[in-house]
Protein backbone atom coordinates (compact mmCIF):
# COMPACT_ATOMS: atom_id res chain seq x y z
CA UNK A 1 0.00 0.00 0.00
CA UNK A 2 1.46 3.33 -1.12
CA UNK A 3 0.15 6.68 0.06
CA UNK A 4 1.34 9.84 -1.64
CA UNK A 5 0.25 13.26 -0.44
CA UNK A 6 0.93 16.80 0.60
CA UNK A 7 2.11 17.43 4.16
CA UNK A 8 0.53 19.47 6.93
CA UNK A 9 3.05 19.60 9.74
CA UNK A 10 2.30 19.90 13.47
CA UNK A 11 4.42 19.82 16.62
CA UNK A 12 4.81 17.53 19.65
CA UNK A 13 2.07 16.36 22.04
CA UNK A 14 -0.89 17.32 19.82
CA UNK A 15 -3.78 16.33 22.10
CA UNK A 16 -7.28 15.15 21.31
CA UNK A 17 -8.89 18.27 22.80
CA UNK A 18 -7.21 20.41 20.12
CA UNK A 19 -7.93 17.81 17.42
CA UNK A 20 -11.62 18.02 18.36
CA UNK A 21 -13.10 19.51 21.55
CA UNK A 22 -15.66 17.52 23.56
CA UNK A 23 -18.52 19.88 22.78
CA UNK A 24 -18.67 18.64 19.16
CA UNK A 25 -18.80 14.96 20.05
CA UNK A 26 -22.35 14.54 21.26
CA UNK A 27 -23.93 13.54 17.97
CA UNK A 28 -24.18 10.60 15.56
CA UNK A 29 -23.87 13.10 12.69
CA UNK A 30 -20.28 12.31 11.73
CA UNK A 31 -20.19 15.18 9.22
CA UNK A 32 -19.81 17.54 12.20
CA UNK A 33 -16.43 16.15 13.27
CA UNK A 34 -14.24 16.95 10.23
CA UNK A 35 -15.59 20.52 10.23
CA UNK A 36 -13.75 21.09 13.51
CA UNK A 37 -10.62 19.03 12.95
CA UNK A 38 -7.46 20.57 14.48
CA UNK A 39 -9.52 23.61 15.44
CA UNK A 40 -7.58 24.14 18.67
CA UNK A 41 -4.37 24.72 16.68
CA UNK A 42 -5.58 26.13 13.35
CA UNK A 43 -9.27 27.18 13.11
CA UNK A 44 -8.99 27.31 9.29
CA UNK A 45 -7.49 23.83 8.92
CA UNK A 46 -10.71 22.09 7.86
CA UNK A 47 -11.12 24.59 5.02
CA UNK A 48 -7.52 24.27 3.82
CA UNK A 49 -7.06 20.50 3.92
CA UNK A 50 -7.55 18.52 0.68
CA UNK A 51 -8.48 14.84 0.33
CA UNK A 52 -5.30 12.75 0.24
CA UNK A 53 -3.23 15.15 2.34
CA UNK A 54 -1.01 13.74 5.08
CA UNK A 55 -0.54 14.98 8.64
CA UNK A 56 3.04 14.89 9.93
CA UNK A 57 3.71 15.48 13.61
CA UNK A 58 6.25 15.16 16.38
CA UNK A 59 6.15 13.04 19.51
CA UNK A 60 3.00 11.68 21.18
CA UNK A 61 0.45 12.68 18.52
CA UNK A 62 -3.13 12.21 19.76
CA UNK A 63 -2.33 12.13 23.46
CA UNK A 64 -5.20 12.68 25.88
CA UNK A 65 -8.76 11.46 25.69
CA UNK A 66 -9.98 8.13 24.29
CA UNK A 67 -12.48 9.92 22.02
CA UNK A 68 -12.45 8.01 18.76
CA UNK A 69 -13.86 11.06 16.99
CA UNK A 70 -10.29 12.44 16.98
CA UNK A 71 -9.21 9.72 14.55
CA UNK A 72 -12.55 9.90 12.73
CA UNK A 73 -12.41 13.70 12.31
CA UNK A 74 -8.99 13.35 10.67
CA UNK A 75 -10.10 10.47 8.47
CA UNK A 76 -13.38 12.09 7.44
CA UNK A 77 -11.54 15.31 6.58
CA UNK A 78 -9.89 13.22 3.85
CA UNK A 79 -6.47 12.87 5.48
CA UNK A 80 -4.86 9.73 4.02
CA UNK A 81 -2.42 9.02 6.85
CA UNK A 82 -0.79 10.46 9.96
CA UNK A 83 2.98 10.10 10.20
CA UNK A 84 4.54 10.99 13.55
CA UNK A 85 7.64 10.46 15.64
CA UNK A 86 5.37 8.59 18.06
CA UNK A 87 1.69 8.36 19.00
CA UNK A 88 -0.50 8.45 22.05
CA UNK A 89 -1.40 4.77 22.37
CA UNK A 90 -5.19 5.11 22.43
CA UNK A 91 -5.16 7.38 19.37
CA UNK A 92 -2.90 4.91 17.56
CA UNK A 93 -5.35 2.07 18.19
CA UNK A 94 -8.33 4.22 17.25
CA UNK A 95 -6.69 5.22 13.96
CA UNK A 96 -5.86 1.63 12.94
CA UNK A 97 -9.31 0.47 14.07
CA UNK A 98 -10.87 2.99 11.71
CA UNK A 99 -8.61 2.23 8.77
CA UNK A 100 -6.52 5.38 9.10
CA UNK A 101 -2.82 4.52 8.77
CA UNK A 102 -0.94 5.89 11.80
CA UNK A 103 2.69 5.54 10.84
CA UNK A 104 5.46 5.74 13.43
CA UNK A 105 8.49 7.20 11.70
CA UNK A 106 11.41 8.46 13.82
CA UNK A 107 13.04 11.49 12.19
CA UNK A 108 10.00 12.55 10.13
CA UNK A 109 9.40 15.88 11.85
CA UNK A 110 12.87 17.10 10.93
CA UNK A 111 12.70 15.75 7.37
CA UNK A 112 9.57 17.51 6.09
CA UNK A 113 7.78 20.84 6.09
CA UNK A 114 4.20 21.81 5.35
CA UNK A 115 3.59 21.65 1.62
CA UNK A 116 6.17 18.93 0.90
CA UNK A 117 5.06 15.85 -1.04
CA UNK A 118 5.87 12.56 0.65
CA UNK A 119 5.21 8.92 -0.17
CA UNK A 120 4.56 6.21 2.42
CA UNK A 121 5.22 2.64 1.31
CA UNK A 122 3.75 0.38 3.98
CA UNK A 123 4.99 -2.83 2.30
CA UNK A 124 8.58 -1.67 1.98
CA UNK A 125 8.43 0.13 5.32
CA UNK A 126 9.75 3.46 4.11
CA UNK A 127 8.69 7.09 3.82
CA UNK A 128 10.20 9.04 0.92
CA UNK A 129 10.66 12.73 1.60
CA UNK A 130 12.34 15.59 -0.30
CA UNK A 131 15.22 15.22 2.18
CA UNK A 132 15.72 11.49 2.00
CA UNK A 133 14.17 8.14 2.78
CA UNK A 134 13.19 7.18 6.33
CA UNK A 135 12.45 3.76 7.81
CA UNK A 136 9.11 3.15 9.51
CA UNK A 137 8.25 0.72 12.28
CA UNK A 138 6.51 -2.24 10.59
CA UNK A 139 3.01 -3.21 11.74
CA UNK A 140 2.45 -6.72 13.11
CA UNK A 141 0.50 -8.95 10.69
CA UNK A 142 -2.89 -8.64 12.42
CA UNK A 143 -2.67 -4.83 12.36
CA UNK A 144 -1.96 -4.90 8.61
CA UNK A 145 -5.02 -7.10 8.24
CA UNK A 146 -7.19 -4.68 10.24
CA UNK A 147 -6.02 -1.84 7.96
CA UNK A 148 -6.55 -3.95 4.85
CA UNK A 149 -10.15 -4.55 5.95
CA UNK A 150 -10.61 -0.79 6.38
CA UNK A 151 -10.86 -1.10 10.16
CA UNK A 152 -11.75 -3.35 13.08
CA UNK A 153 -15.49 -3.54 12.36
CA UNK A 154 -15.01 -5.17 8.94
CA UNK A 155 -12.10 -7.24 10.29
CA UNK A 156 -14.43 -8.59 12.98
CA UNK A 157 -17.23 -9.31 10.54
CA UNK A 158 -15.17 -10.99 7.84
CA UNK A 159 -12.09 -12.39 9.56
CA UNK A 160 -13.34 -13.24 13.07
CA UNK A 161 -17.01 -14.05 12.45
CA UNK A 162 -16.53 -15.13 8.81
CA UNK A 163 -19.50 -13.29 7.29
Amino acid sequence: MKIRGKVWKFGDDVNTDVIIPARYLRTFDSSVWPQHVMEGIDPEFSKKVQPGDIIVAGRNFGCGSSREQAALAIKLAGIAAVVAESFGWIFFRNAINNGLPAVECPGISKAVETGDLIEIDLEKGVVSTPRGILQIKPYPVFMREILAHGGLVEYFKRKIRGD
Binding site: D17, T27, S66
Partner: protein, 418 residues
Protein backbone atom coordinates in the same frame (compact mmCIF):
# COMPACT_ATOMS: atom_id res chain seq x y z
CA UNK B 1 12.28 -11.91 36.66
CA UNK B 2 9.05 -10.19 35.60
CA UNK B 3 7.15 -6.98 36.01
CA UNK B 4 3.78 -6.98 37.74
CA UNK B 5 2.03 -6.37 34.42
CA UNK B 6 3.89 -9.27 32.75
CA UNK B 7 2.75 -11.46 35.66
CA UNK B 8 -0.87 -10.37 35.17
CA UNK B 9 -0.82 -11.30 31.47
CA UNK B 10 1.08 -14.54 32.17
CA UNK B 11 -1.46 -15.53 34.82
CA UNK B 12 -4.39 -14.87 32.50
CA UNK B 13 -2.85 -16.56 29.46
CA UNK B 14 -1.22 -19.45 31.32
CA UNK B 15 2.16 -18.92 29.69
CA UNK B 16 5.24 -16.77 29.97
CA UNK B 17 4.77 -13.26 28.60
CA UNK B 18 7.32 -10.51 28.05
CA UNK B 19 6.99 -6.79 27.51
CA UNK B 20 6.70 -6.06 23.80
CA UNK B 21 4.65 -9.22 23.06
CA UNK B 22 1.41 -8.75 21.16
CA UNK B 23 -1.24 -10.90 22.80
CA UNK B 24 -4.96 -11.50 22.46
CA UNK B 25 -6.23 -11.74 26.04
CA UNK B 26 -9.58 -12.29 27.69
CA UNK B 27 -10.87 -9.20 29.46
CA UNK B 28 -12.12 -9.44 33.06
CA UNK B 29 -13.97 -6.14 33.19
CA UNK B 30 -15.19 -3.72 30.51
CA UNK B 31 -16.73 -0.35 31.22
CA UNK B 32 -17.79 2.77 29.41
CA UNK B 33 -19.85 5.90 30.01
CA UNK B 34 -22.46 8.13 28.41
CA UNK B 35 -19.75 10.03 26.52
CA UNK B 36 -18.22 7.10 24.64
CA UNK B 37 -21.22 4.75 25.03
CA UNK B 38 -23.28 5.93 22.05
CA UNK B 39 -20.44 5.26 19.59
CA UNK B 40 -19.55 1.94 21.33
CA UNK B 41 -23.11 0.68 20.97
CA UNK B 42 -23.63 2.08 17.48
CA UNK B 43 -20.50 0.25 16.25
CA UNK B 44 -21.55 -2.93 18.05
CA UNK B 45 -25.20 -3.06 17.19
CA UNK B 46 -25.56 -1.19 13.90
CA UNK B 47 -22.22 -1.86 12.21
CA UNK B 48 -20.97 -5.15 13.66
CA UNK B 49 -24.59 -6.33 13.86
CA UNK B 50 -24.07 -7.93 17.29
CA UNK B 51 -27.18 -8.04 19.46
CA UNK B 52 -26.09 -10.40 22.21
CA UNK B 53 -22.78 -10.42 24.07
CA UNK B 54 -21.06 -13.37 25.75
CA UNK B 55 -20.34 -11.68 29.11
CA UNK B 56 -22.89 -9.04 30.06
CA UNK B 57 -21.91 -9.66 33.71
CA UNK B 58 -18.39 -8.35 33.03
CA UNK B 59 -19.76 -5.11 31.63
CA UNK B 60 -20.44 -1.88 33.51
CA UNK B 61 -21.86 1.42 32.26
CA UNK B 62 -21.70 4.60 34.33
CA UNK B 63 -23.41 7.83 33.26
CA UNK B 64 -20.98 10.56 34.27
CA UNK B 65 -20.02 12.89 31.42
CA UNK B 66 -23.27 14.83 31.20
CA UNK B 67 -24.97 14.36 34.55
CA UNK B 68 -27.72 15.39 34.10
CA UNK B 69 -27.95 15.98 30.30
CA UNK B 70 -27.37 19.61 29.34
CA UNK B 71 -29.36 19.54 26.09
CA UNK B 72 -31.90 17.44 24.21
CA UNK B 73 -29.33 15.85 21.93
CA UNK B 74 -27.38 14.50 24.91
CA UNK B 75 -30.58 13.31 26.60
CA UNK B 76 -31.41 11.40 23.42
CA UNK B 77 -27.95 9.78 23.23
CA UNK B 78 -28.24 8.72 26.88
CA UNK B 79 -31.63 7.16 26.11
CA UNK B 80 -29.96 5.24 23.24
CA UNK B 81 -27.36 3.85 25.67
CA UNK B 82 -30.04 2.82 28.19
CA UNK B 83 -32.08 1.11 25.48
CA UNK B 84 -29.18 -1.02 24.21
CA UNK B 85 -27.82 -1.70 27.70
CA UNK B 86 -31.18 -3.29 28.46
CA UNK B 87 -31.44 -5.23 25.17
CA UNK B 88 -27.88 -6.54 25.53
CA UNK B 89 -28.68 -7.47 29.16
CA UNK B 90 -25.64 -5.53 30.39
CA UNK B 91 -25.74 -6.32 34.08
CA UNK B 92 -24.52 -3.10 35.66
CA UNK B 93 -25.75 0.33 34.65
CA UNK B 94 -25.14 3.12 37.17
CA UNK B 95 -27.32 5.94 35.90
CA UNK B 96 -27.03 9.73 36.29
CA UNK B 97 -25.95 10.95 39.69
CA UNK B 98 -24.01 7.87 40.83
CA UNK B 99 -20.66 9.45 40.02
CA UNK B 100 -17.59 9.13 37.81
CA UNK B 101 -16.94 5.71 36.31
CA UNK B 102 -13.39 5.41 37.69
CA UNK B 103 -14.74 6.10 41.19
CA UNK B 104 -17.97 4.12 41.00
CA UNK B 105 -16.45 0.96 39.47
CA UNK B 106 -14.13 0.30 42.45
CA UNK B 107 -16.68 1.55 45.01
CA UNK B 108 -19.20 -1.01 43.78
CA UNK B 109 -16.68 -3.85 44.09
CA UNK B 110 -16.06 -4.54 40.39
CA UNK B 111 -12.26 -4.23 40.57
CA UNK B 112 -9.84 -6.90 41.77
CA UNK B 113 -6.03 -7.01 41.72
CA UNK B 114 -4.61 -8.95 38.79
CA UNK B 115 -7.56 -8.29 36.50
CA UNK B 116 -7.25 -7.12 32.91
CA UNK B 117 -9.61 -4.15 32.70
CA UNK B 118 -10.51 -1.96 29.74
CA UNK B 119 -12.52 1.23 29.84
CA UNK B 120 -13.64 3.45 26.98
CA UNK B 121 -12.11 6.42 28.75
CA UNK B 122 -8.47 7.41 28.92
CA UNK B 123 -8.44 7.68 32.71
CA UNK B 124 -9.19 3.98 33.14
CA UNK B 125 -5.53 3.84 34.22
CA UNK B 126 -6.82 5.07 37.62
CA UNK B 127 -7.67 1.47 38.53
CA UNK B 128 -4.01 0.50 38.51
CA UNK B 129 -4.25 1.76 42.10
CA UNK B 130 -5.82 -1.64 42.84
CA UNK B 131 -2.97 -3.61 41.23
CA UNK B 132 -5.02 -4.36 38.11
CA UNK B 133 -3.87 -3.85 34.52
CA UNK B 134 -6.36 -1.18 33.53
CA UNK B 135 -6.17 0.73 30.29
CA UNK B 136 -8.23 3.20 28.31
CA UNK B 137 -9.31 2.29 24.77
CA UNK B 138 -11.56 3.77 22.10
CA UNK B 139 -15.11 2.96 21.10
CA UNK B 140 -14.39 0.39 18.38
CA UNK B 141 -12.02 -1.56 20.63
CA UNK B 142 -14.76 -1.63 23.26
CA UNK B 143 -17.30 -2.87 20.70
CA UNK B 144 -14.93 -5.65 19.68
CA UNK B 145 -14.32 -6.59 23.32
CA UNK B 146 -18.05 -6.64 24.07
CA UNK B 147 -18.56 -8.96 21.09
CA UNK B 148 -15.68 -11.34 21.88
CA UNK B 149 -14.71 -10.71 25.55
CA UNK B 150 -11.12 -10.43 24.33
CA UNK B 151 -8.83 -7.72 22.98
CA UNK B 152 -5.30 -7.46 21.61
CA UNK B 153 -2.68 -5.80 23.75
CA UNK B 154 0.98 -4.98 23.43
CA UNK B 155 2.33 -6.00 26.84
CA UNK B 156 3.87 -2.73 28.04
CA UNK B 157 7.30 -2.17 29.49
CA UNK B 158 7.32 -0.74 33.01
CA UNK B 159 8.67 2.60 34.14
CA UNK B 160 9.02 2.36 37.88
CA UNK B 161 8.91 5.49 40.02
CA UNK B 162 10.67 4.68 43.28
CA UNK B 163 9.47 7.12 45.87
CA UNK B 164 11.24 7.81 49.14
CA UNK B 165 10.86 10.39 51.89
CA UNK B 166 7.54 11.91 52.88
CA UNK B 167 5.44 14.78 51.60
CA UNK B 168 5.64 18.00 53.62
CA UNK B 169 2.64 19.68 55.21
CA UNK B 170 0.43 21.24 52.52
CA UNK B 171 1.84 18.96 49.80
CA UNK B 172 -0.32 16.14 48.45
CA UNK B 173 -0.27 13.23 46.02
CA UNK B 174 -1.53 15.63 43.31
CA UNK B 175 1.51 17.85 43.78
CA UNK B 176 3.69 14.75 43.59
CA UNK B 177 2.21 13.48 40.31
CA UNK B 178 2.42 16.97 38.80
CA UNK B 179 6.06 17.12 39.91
CA UNK B 180 6.70 13.73 38.28
CA UNK B 181 4.91 14.87 35.08
CA UNK B 182 7.11 17.96 35.00
CA UNK B 183 10.24 15.87 35.36
CA UNK B 184 9.35 13.09 32.92
CA UNK B 185 7.25 15.12 30.39
CA UNK B 186 3.94 14.36 28.64
CA UNK B 187 5.61 11.54 26.71
CA UNK B 188 7.97 10.39 29.47
CA UNK B 189 6.15 7.10 29.98
CA UNK B 190 4.88 6.72 26.41
CA UNK B 191 3.47 3.26 25.79
CA UNK B 192 4.58 1.98 29.21
CA UNK B 193 3.04 1.11 32.54
CA UNK B 194 3.84 3.81 35.08
CA UNK B 195 4.36 1.94 38.31
CA UNK B 196 4.62 3.60 41.70
CA UNK B 197 6.79 1.88 44.28
CA UNK B 198 9.45 2.48 46.88
CA UNK B 199 9.31 3.04 50.64
CA UNK B 200 7.08 6.13 50.41
CA UNK B 201 4.24 4.18 48.75
CA UNK B 202 3.17 2.71 52.11
CA UNK B 203 2.19 6.19 53.32
CA UNK B 204 -0.21 6.74 50.40
CA UNK B 205 -3.92 6.05 50.94
CA UNK B 206 -6.22 4.38 48.42
CA UNK B 207 -7.31 7.87 47.32
CA UNK B 208 -3.68 8.99 46.87
CA UNK B 209 -2.89 5.93 44.80
CA UNK B 210 -5.91 6.63 42.58
CA UNK B 211 -4.70 10.22 42.08
CA UNK B 212 -1.21 9.02 41.11
CA UNK B 213 -2.42 6.32 38.73
CA UNK B 214 -5.14 8.61 37.28
CA UNK B 215 -2.55 10.89 35.75
CA UNK B 216 -0.34 8.10 34.32
CA UNK B 217 -1.96 8.68 30.92
CA UNK B 218 -0.88 12.34 31.07
CA UNK B 219 2.71 11.08 30.87
CA UNK B 220 1.78 8.92 27.89
CA UNK B 221 1.45 5.71 29.92
CA UNK B 222 -0.86 2.87 28.90
CA UNK B 223 -1.62 2.12 32.53
CA UNK B 224 -0.73 3.07 36.07
CA UNK B 225 0.10 0.53 38.74
CA UNK B 226 0.60 0.27 42.49
CA UNK B 227 1.24 -3.03 44.23
CA UNK B 228 -1.38 -3.76 46.92
CA UNK B 229 -0.93 -3.04 50.60
CA UNK B 230 -3.14 -3.74 53.61
CA UNK B 231 -5.16 -0.51 53.11
CA UNK B 232 -5.98 -1.43 49.53
CA UNK B 233 -6.91 -5.00 50.50
CA UNK B 234 -9.11 -3.67 53.30
CA UNK B 235 -10.87 -1.28 50.89
CA UNK B 236 -11.45 -4.13 48.44
CA UNK B 237 -12.72 -6.52 51.13
CA UNK B 238 -15.19 -3.89 52.30
CA UNK B 239 -16.57 -3.85 48.72
CA UNK B 240 -16.81 -7.63 48.49
CA UNK B 241 -13.82 -7.89 46.15
CA UNK B 242 -11.32 -10.45 47.39
CA UNK B 243 -7.76 -10.30 46.15
CA UNK B 244 -5.89 -13.36 44.91
CA UNK B 245 -3.09 -11.43 43.20
CA UNK B 246 -0.61 -9.71 45.47
CA UNK B 247 2.51 -9.84 43.27
CA UNK B 248 4.68 -6.90 42.42
CA UNK B 249 7.50 -6.17 40.00
CA UNK B 250 10.68 -8.13 40.66
CA UNK B 251 13.78 -6.09 41.40
CA UNK B 252 15.54 -5.33 38.12
CA UNK B 253 12.58 -6.26 35.87
CA UNK B 254 11.46 -2.71 35.11
CA UNK B 255 12.62 -1.21 31.83
CA UNK B 256 13.41 2.11 33.48
CA UNK B 257 13.62 3.31 37.10
CA UNK B 258 13.24 6.90 38.27
CA UNK B 259 13.84 7.94 41.87
CA UNK B 260 11.79 10.65 43.50
CA UNK B 261 12.35 12.17 46.91
CA UNK B 262 8.89 13.19 48.14
CA UNK B 263 10.36 15.61 50.67
CA UNK B 264 11.63 17.80 47.81
CA UNK B 265 8.13 18.38 46.42
CA UNK B 266 6.31 21.64 47.16
CA UNK B 267 2.80 22.74 46.12
CA UNK B 268 2.85 22.56 42.32
CA UNK B 269 0.71 23.63 39.36
CA UNK B 270 0.61 22.54 35.74
CA UNK B 271 0.46 25.92 34.02
CA UNK B 272 -1.33 26.44 30.68
CA UNK B 273 -1.61 24.56 28.41
CA UNK B 274 0.21 21.25 28.85
CA UNK B 275 0.23 18.91 31.82
CA UNK B 276 4.03 18.86 31.90
CA UNK B 277 4.35 22.67 32.12
CA UNK B 278 4.81 22.22 35.86
CA UNK B 279 5.96 24.95 38.24
CA UNK B 280 5.96 25.52 41.98
CA UNK B 281 2.88 27.47 43.10
CA UNK B 282 5.34 30.13 44.28
CA UNK B 283 6.18 30.96 40.63
CA UNK B 284 2.57 31.79 39.69
CA UNK B 285 1.22 33.06 43.02
CA UNK B 286 -1.03 36.08 42.67
CA UNK B 287 -2.37 35.20 39.20
CA UNK B 288 -6.05 36.36 39.24
CA UNK B 289 -8.58 33.53 39.01
CA UNK B 290 -12.18 33.48 37.68
CA UNK B 291 -13.15 29.90 38.46
CA UNK B 292 -12.00 27.18 40.82
CA UNK B 293 -13.07 23.59 40.19
CA UNK B 294 -12.63 20.96 42.89
CA UNK B 295 -13.62 17.49 41.72
CA UNK B 296 -12.98 14.98 38.87
CA UNK B 297 -11.61 11.43 38.79
CA UNK B 298 -8.28 12.89 39.89
CA UNK B 299 -9.40 14.76 43.01
CA UNK B 300 -13.11 14.46 43.79
CA UNK B 301 -12.86 12.01 46.67
CA UNK B 302 -13.79 12.53 50.32
CA UNK B 303 -10.15 13.08 51.28
CA UNK B 304 -9.99 15.92 48.74
CA UNK B 305 -13.21 17.54 49.95
CA UNK B 306 -11.97 17.35 53.56
CA UNK B 307 -8.82 19.25 52.66
CA UNK B 308 -10.80 21.87 50.73
CA UNK B 309 -13.33 22.30 53.56
CA UNK B 310 -10.57 22.66 56.17
CA UNK B 311 -9.27 25.68 54.23
CA UNK B 312 -12.67 27.16 53.33
CA UNK B 313 -14.24 26.70 56.78
CA UNK B 314 -15.26 30.08 58.22
CA UNK B 315 -13.81 31.82 55.18
CA UNK B 316 -15.46 33.17 52.03
CA UNK B 317 -14.79 32.60 48.36
CA UNK B 318 -13.36 35.85 46.97
CA UNK B 319 -15.82 38.18 45.28
CA UNK B 320 -16.16 37.55 41.55
CA UNK B 321 -14.78 34.01 41.76
CA UNK B 322 -16.99 30.98 41.13
CA UNK B 323 -16.11 27.88 43.13
CA UNK B 324 -17.57 24.67 41.69
CA UNK B 325 -17.26 21.55 43.83
CA UNK B 326 -18.34 18.21 42.36
CA UNK B 327 -18.11 15.07 44.52
CA UNK B 328 -16.77 12.11 42.53
CA UNK B 329 -19.69 9.88 43.53
CA UNK B 330 -22.96 9.71 45.41
CA UNK B 331 -21.12 7.84 48.16
CA UNK B 332 -18.55 10.64 48.45
CA UNK B 333 -21.37 13.22 48.49
CA UNK B 334 -23.23 11.39 51.27
CA UNK B 335 -20.09 11.04 53.36
CA UNK B 336 -19.32 14.74 52.86
CA UNK B 337 -22.86 15.56 54.03
CA UNK B 338 -22.45 13.42 57.15
CA UNK B 339 -19.17 15.13 57.99
CA UNK B 340 -20.64 18.62 57.58
CA UNK B 341 -18.30 19.34 54.68
CA UNK B 342 -21.05 20.25 52.23
CA UNK B 343 -22.49 22.77 54.69
CA UNK B 344 -19.09 24.37 55.23
CA UNK B 345 -18.45 24.59 51.49
CA UNK B 346 -21.91 26.06 50.82
CA UNK B 347 -21.48 28.64 53.59
CA UNK B 348 -18.12 29.61 52.09
CA UNK B 349 -19.87 30.36 48.79
CA UNK B 350 -19.27 27.14 46.82
CA UNK B 351 -21.69 25.70 44.28
CA UNK B 352 -22.08 21.93 44.63
CA UNK B 353 -22.59 19.95 41.43
CA UNK B 354 -24.16 16.57 40.69
CA UNK B 355 -21.62 13.72 41.06
CA UNK B 356 -19.95 13.19 37.70
CA UNK B 357 -17.25 14.75 35.56
CA UNK B 358 -18.49 18.32 36.16
CA UNK B 359 -16.75 21.05 34.12
CA UNK B 360 -13.55 19.02 33.53
CA UNK B 361 -14.23 18.52 29.83
CA UNK B 362 -15.96 21.79 29.10
CA UNK B 363 -19.52 20.59 28.56
CA UNK B 364 -21.39 22.13 31.49
CA UNK B 365 -21.30 23.28 35.15
CA UNK B 366 -18.64 25.95 34.73
CA UNK B 367 -17.58 26.44 31.10
CA UNK B 368 -14.86 29.11 30.75
CA UNK B 369 -15.15 32.32 28.69
CA UNK B 370 -12.48 34.02 26.56
CA UNK B 371 -9.60 35.17 28.72
CA UNK B 372 -10.82 33.50 31.91
CA UNK B 373 -8.44 31.70 34.25
CA UNK B 374 -9.33 28.54 36.15
CA UNK B 375 -7.62 26.58 38.87
CA UNK B 376 -8.77 22.99 38.50
CA UNK B 377 -8.06 19.81 40.44
CA UNK B 378 -8.69 17.75 37.28
CA UNK B 379 -6.09 16.28 34.97
CA UNK B 380 -5.99 18.26 31.71
CA UNK B 381 -5.29 21.92 30.98
CA UNK B 382 -5.26 21.69 27.19
CA UNK B 383 -6.35 24.59 24.99
CA UNK B 384 -10.16 24.60 24.84
CA UNK B 385 -10.52 21.80 27.39
CA UNK B 386 -12.96 23.62 29.68
CA UNK B 387 -14.55 25.93 27.13
CA UNK B 388 -13.01 28.87 25.30
CA UNK B 389 -9.73 28.36 23.46
CA UNK B 390 -8.68 31.65 25.02
CA UNK B 391 -9.22 30.47 28.59
CA UNK B 392 -6.27 29.28 30.68
CA UNK B 393 -6.27 26.38 33.13
CA UNK B 394 -3.90 25.71 36.02
CA UNK B 395 -4.01 22.20 37.47
CA UNK B 396 -3.42 21.97 41.20
CA UNK B 397 -4.19 20.09 44.41
CA UNK B 398 -7.53 20.58 46.22
CA UNK B 399 -5.66 22.57 48.89
CA UNK B 400 -4.13 24.97 46.37
CA UNK B 401 -7.51 25.22 44.62
CA UNK B 402 -9.32 26.06 47.88
CA UNK B 403 -6.71 28.63 48.93
CA UNK B 404 -6.93 30.20 45.47
CA UNK B 405 -10.73 30.42 45.78
CA UNK B 406 -10.34 32.30 49.07
CA UNK B 407 -7.84 34.79 47.68
CA UNK B 408 -9.21 35.08 44.15
CA UNK B 409 -5.63 34.58 43.05
CA UNK B 410 -3.44 31.51 42.82
CA UNK B 411 -2.34 30.98 46.41
CA UNK B 412 -0.02 28.79 48.43
CA UNK B 413 -2.24 26.62 50.67
CA UNK B 414 0.33 26.26 53.43
CA UNK B 415 -0.57 29.50 55.14
CA UNK B 416 -4.17 28.29 55.56
CA UNK B 417 -3.36 25.00 57.20
CA UNK B 418 -3.20 24.58 60.97
Amino acid sequence: MSTAVEKIFARTLGRRVEAGDFVEAPVDLMYFHDGTGPLVLKHLVEEMEVTSIPHPERTVIVFDHSAPPHNDQVADLQRYVRKWASKLRIKYLYDLGEGICHQVVPEKGHVKPGQIIIGADSHTCTLGAFAAFATGIGATDMSYALATSTLWFKVPETLQVKMKGSLSRGVYSKDLILYIAGRLSASGALGKTLEFSGPALASFSVADRMTLCNMAVELGAISGFCPVNEDVLKFLRSRGAHADFTSSTDEGAADEVVEVDCSEVEPMVAAPSTVDNVKPVADVEGTPVDEVFIGSCTNGRIEDLRVAAAILKERRVAEGVRLVVVPASREVYLQALREGIIEELLKAGAMIGVPGCGPCLGLHMGVLADGEVAVSTANRNFVGRMGSKKARIYLASPATAAASAVEGRIADPRRYLP
